[in-house]
């Protein structure tokens, strides 16, 4: 018993002498991203913020932490990391890029202790009904509108057939199966032929190599079957790489990937070395474009010029900084004093020069409630050797927002 008391006293003593470090920036912005092994683009976004505004450790403004690689089984750590950011009295805004499970709870805890901190999430993995209550702004890619726009872009480029490649596990994910249904509907309306092709699941026994091999081997047969005026879309990132390789070599169209980025698939598929232009998106885009054109695939392959994850990381941080500088608090979000759509588009646009964005608010499919702090975004599609497709000027017909996955 005595021993225990001595220990407790020692802990108290040690704790007492630990003080918070003081820094020079007038306020701090906290950002949590994945690690390099988990999600590189978000991490690069946070590093860009540090590059611009400095690390708190060196008197700058940005405090960067990461969530565990196996975040789903270490929720306690996710929460502790975020709540720890709020321990800094200068902390005025916190951004989570990839709002992994636990973010909502952490935000609730922060709000209880520090109601003055602006809380932002980019790419949420939790239930929208709860995240939008805990955070001030949540953003995500607009996969509903994209379901129509990808098909529309294919039509603009002259495709006659649209092939959707996926497998059962992905088709059991609500949003993916809903997007597939939208694509089919869009094909019907735009006078194109829709086809579904099944590929093996990379998480099954064939593994990633087997799944990639399948695409490489099967593609010529697909091209024979559907003709060269066919656009291909694939829900899996690992399978995107071989698909890009074959489209570049043999023909067909590839509009954009599931979560588009010039880094997704292209460097591997076309053998582009990007080590010297890390983090410089226009330069990355240029190099990939050169490679695509060299393969003779100009005007047939596209992407988003700026990675969504990267732009989200840096834009959300920037938006937080701007709002804090304007003296805005979470109260202003509640009272509707902030034009969320405008602020978000402005911040995203700032870090993706030349690329247009569009945003619309999320509507819960089951209750019909519109969430006015949950803008869904999409970027203009960039076709290599051709330029932007002006997809953000297209109006997505209302009917597509009610198409369900069934």
């Amino acid at each position: 018993m005595k021993r225990g008391i001595v220990f407790l006293a020692l802990i108290a003593l040690v704790t007492f002498f630990a003080g918070g470090a003081l820094a020079d920036a007038p306020f701090h912005i906290g950002i949590m991203t994945g690690t390099l092994s988990q999600s590189e683009d978000d991490l690069r976004g946070a590093e860009k913020l540090i590059e611009m505004y400095g690390d708190v450790a060196n008197g700058g403004m940005i405090k960067h932490v990461t969530y565990p690689d196996n975040f789903s089984s270490e929720m306690e750590t996710v929460i502790a990391q975020l709540v720890g950011l709020a321990d800094d009295p200068l902390m005025k805004a916190i951004v989570s890029v990839q709002g992994v499970p636990g973010t909502t709870e952490a935000y609730r805890k922060i709000r209880e202790r520090r109601p003055d901190i602006i809380l932002l999430i980019g790419m949420s993995q939790e239930d929208p009904n709860l995240t939008t209550q805990a955070a001030d702004v949540v953003t995500d890619p607009d996969n509903v509108a994209r379901g129509y726009l990808i098909v529309k872009a294919a039509q603009k480029l002259g495709a006659k057939t649209f092939v959707h490649i996926s497998f059962p596990r992905h088709m059991s994910i609500e949003l993916l199966s809903r997007r597939r249904a939208i694509m089919e509907e869009a094909c019907k309306d735009l006078g194109m032929t829709y086809a579904f092709e099944t590929a093996p699941d990379p998480t099954s026994d064939v593994g990633i190599p087997g799944a990639q091999q399948f695409i490489l081997e099967k593609f010529p047969a697909w091209l024979d079957k559907y003709g060269k005026e066919t656009a291909f879309f694939c829900t899996n990132d690992a399978q995107t790489e071989p698909l890009l390789k074959r489209v570049a070599e043999m023909g067909g169209f590839f509009i954009e990937s599931d979560l588009p980025s010039p880094l997704l698939g292209y460097p591997g598929a076309l053998g582009v070395d990007l080590s010297s232009v890390q983090g410089d998106w226009p330069a990355i885009l240029k190099r990939v474009e050169d490679a695509v054109v060299a393969k003779g695939a100009a005007g047939r392959m596209g992407t988003w010029a700026f990675s969504f994850a990267y732009t989200t990381g840096v834009a959300m941080g920037e938006m937080g900084k701007k709002l804090v500088e304007e003296g805005k608090t979470p109260e202003d979000f509640k009272n509707g004093n902030i034009d969320i759509k405008k602020e978000v588009l402005e911040a995203y646009g700032k870090f993706s020069p030349g690329a247009e964005w569009n945003a619309s608010f999320y509507t819960d499919a089951s209750t019909g409630v519109t969430m006015k702090n949950y803008p869904l975004l999409y970027q203009d599609t960039y076709i290599f050797g051709k330029g932007y497709m002006k997809m953000t000027d297209e109006v997505v017909p209302d009917k597509y927002f009610t198409v369900t996955g069934q």
């Binding site: 499919a365 089951s366 209750t367 019909g368 409630v369």
Partner: protein
């Protein structure tokens, strides 16, 4: 002796279950959707109003505008709703208070225009995906 023990055990089990049922009914949370949209029921149309203050069980009132639908949460079975209809100038022009009790369904839709007009169908079970 054995019989008595059995009775005691049965009574304990009964109490246990009874407490469980009590907690179940008493602690059941309901999602309430307050709806201020124009509704047509058969040949009758109930017009939505410009704005109103809604107070549930005497809690702080929330304001609802025309064509809005607000989610609220209630716990337990019996409740009171108080609606104060306002005109464009923000002056209260009509007040109505209603008692209601909720069954075991999760989500309920309250149509405020119907409630104000005294149509008994103002509260209904809301099936998700209906709208």
């Amino acid at each position: 002796m054995k019989a008595r023990r059995l009775v005691v055990r049965a009574a304990a089990l009964f109490l246990f279950v009874a407490l469980g049922v009590f907690l179940f009914v008493n602690g059941k949370g309901h999602d309430i959707l307050l709806d201020n949209k124009t509704v047509t029921m058969g040949d009758q149309t109930y017009e939505a109003f410009a704005s109103a203050l809604i107070s549930l069980d005497g809690k702080k009132a929330v304001e609802i505008q025309r064509r809005e639908r607000l989610p609220e949460m209630l716990v337990g079975k019996n409740h009171v709703i108080r609606v104060e209809v306002m005109n464009r100038g923000g002056k209260v022009i009509q007040t109505r208070e209603e008692k209601f009790s909720l069954g075991l369904d999760r989500t309920w839709l309250i149509s405020l225009p119907m409630l104000i007009s005294g149509d008994a169908r103002w509260i209904q079970v809301f099936k998700t995906g209906e709208n």
